[in-house]
């Protein structure tokens, strides 16, 4: 076993050296494929992050009955805060509500001076939920609580928003799926071509009495090395490149919620792990599978 491993490693390294042109071509191809895949993963990850950020802004507005005392108001706020899935609750008094409205009117705020003393607005709660899909059921539950006059979460808008975020996630997923398939196809084709270029060698080995595994073993290791090398290049690139890109983007669109900081590093780390495993797997399995038709001698 150890002898086989040593032999395989020796042969694989020798072959990488002797077929340097081919090795270079395969490593480049693997690296390029995986870089594209990584970019897509990162874009998809950011789209998801963005969708989540947008979704997180959806709030439920709970209007409190006009006859409610400040005490019932606080009690209601507490009750709502205690509900499952509720992330935060903010109390907005009728005075604060009018103030906000005034701000929205901007330069035409004198319009509201007229209604100042009569203030027709009501106290309300702004409720944020932990996960977007909880908006509808939570609103439903709240509407049945005592002291609640009306519950509003902009149904039409939320439906639209969710279908957009879902769509964006789909697009991201679709691209990742497409790229994964493409990567698998291209890398295995490349491996197939490198094996094809050495078909005679393989035939000779068989004729001299080598077993299939004896021949496969160095090819497998060689594929493994090539795949890991290519993936390593990609990993280095994303590790250095992604934070830089985010930095650039934040200068242009500072208000967009991009994956950055520790979360981004974690994401890139995980992406890179996937890439290295994928590269190694495709290299190893690809060359092993490609060998098959040339082993029939």
């Amino acid at each position: 076993m150890i002898r086989a491993l040593a032999y395989g490693t020796r042969e694989a390294l020798a072959s990488l050296r002797r077929n340097s042109l081919m090795s270079l071509a395969s490593v480049t191809t693997v690296a390029v494929c995986l870089t594209v895949l990584a970019s897509t993963l990162l874009v998809a990850g950011n789209l998801d992050h963005l969708a989540a950020a947008v979704e997180a802004q959806v709030q439920i507005r709970v209007f409190i009955a006009e006859d409610a005392t400040p005490e019932t108001r606080e009690a209601l706020a507490k009750a709502v805060a205690g509900l499952e899935g509720v992330a935060s609750v903010e109390v907005v008094t009728r005075e604060e509500a009018l103030e906000r409205l005034r701000e929205q009117f901007g330069s035409r705020r004198e319009l509201l001076d007229a209604v100042e003393e009569m203030n027709p607005l009501r106290d309300s709660l702004e409720v944020a939920v932990a996960r977007p899909e909880q908006v509808v059921p939570t609103a439903e539950v709240i509407s049945r609580l005592q002291g609640v006059a009306e519950v509003n979460y902009g149904q039409v808008f939320v439906d639209k928003l969710f279908s957009v975020t879902r769509f964006v996630r789909w697009i991201g997923l679709g691209l990742v799926a497409l790229l994964t398939v493409a990567t698998v196809l291209i890398i295995s084709n490349t491996v197939r071509l490198t094996v094809f270029a050495r078909r005679e060698e393989i035939g000779i080995m068989k004729l001299v009495g080598a077993t299939d595994w004896f021949i496969r073993w160095p090819f497998l290791l060689e594929g493994l090395f090539l795949g890991m090398l290519g993936a390593g290049l990609t990993a280095g690139l994303t590790w250095q490149g992604y934070p830089w890109l985010v930095e650039q983007a934040e200068r242009v669109v500072p208000f967009l919620p991009l994956l950055a900081g520790e979360a981004a590093r974690e994401f890139v780390r995980r992406t890179n792990l996937v890439l290295v495993v994928l590269g190694a797997f495709l290299g190893a399995v690809g060359s092993t599978v490609s060998l098959r038709r040339f082993l029939r001698v």
């Binding site: 080995m205 001299v208 077993t211 004896f214």
Partner: protein, 244 residues
């Protein structure tokens, strides 16, 4: 022990390379296979290490029907047989040394064993100083001798040599044939397909002559062609030598 029973080989393109061949070669024999170009010598040899399978009939090597071997049984068969291929079949990415070592690595020999036996084998064919050359850095005859070294390095019980002196000068050829004789004397069965008339004639071994895929002659202490033809051509040659 080799036995061919009513063997016919027809290639997919319709060429009949062997037809109704019956043959028995005992362990320890030294057999020449002769015949004109395209007679079926190489095909006969290829049947023995199962590069080809017969269209009809059975080929027994060491008591086993070679055509009926499961895929997993083919490598063990080939590892017991040394083959000098007509076109050498050296691994282009390995040096002469590594090519010979490969035959030992295949049978799982230890590195010490390899370091001991490979130089020996290269010595025997007179190529010790070319050990580090790659096949494309060797002359035709040198490549042929590397192929021979690879075939004998793991002491096979059967040595198949397909035209092993085609690229060698007469002196080197004789050296190689003496080597084969020595290998044979130590117990290896040797089957050698060849065109080297003088070697066949001088060796006085069994000669199997093929012609258009059929065995037309099978003689112990045989010659390349029948004696009368042989004598007259020798006489002709002598005349040329004596009176330039």
């Amino acid at each position: 022990m080799i036995e061919l029973v009513r063997v016919t080989k027809v290639f997919p393109n319709g060429v009949v390379a062997l037809q109704d061949v019956n043959l028995f070669v005992d362990r320890g024999e030294f057999v020449f296979v002769v015949g004109p170009s395209g007679a079926g010598k190489s095909t006969l040899v290829k049947l023995l290490y199962r590069e080809e399978v017969p269209t009809e009939g059975e080929v027994y090597v060491d008591g086993r029907d070679v055509a009926r071997l499961r895929p997993g049984q083919v490598p063990p068969l080939r590892r017991q047989i040394g083959v000098v291929f007509q076109d050498f079949k050296l691994l282009p990415n390995k040096t002469a040394y590594d090519n010979v070592a490969f035959a030992l690595e295949v049978i799982g020999a230890s590195r010490r064993e390899i370091r001991r036996r490979v130089p020996q084998a290269l010595d025997l064919v007179g190529l010790r100083d070319r050990a580090r050359a790659y096949p494309n850095q060797l002359s035709g005859g040198e490549q042929q001798r590397v192929a021979l070294a690879r075939a004998i390095v793991n002491n096979p019980w059967l040595l198949l040599a397909d035209e092993p002196t085609g690229n060698l000068d007469p002196d080197t050829s004789w050296g190689i044939v003496r080597l084969l004789e020595e290998v044979n004397r130590r117990g290896t069965t040797v089957v050698m397909a060849t065109h080297a008339r003088h070697i066949v004639n001088a060796m006085q071994k069994r000669v199997i002559a093929l012609r258009r895929g059929r065995v037309i002659r099978d003689e112990h202490h045989g010659r390349y062609v029948r004696d009368d033809d042989e004598l007259s051509s020798l006489l002709e040659e002598m005349r040329a030598v004596v009176s330039p």
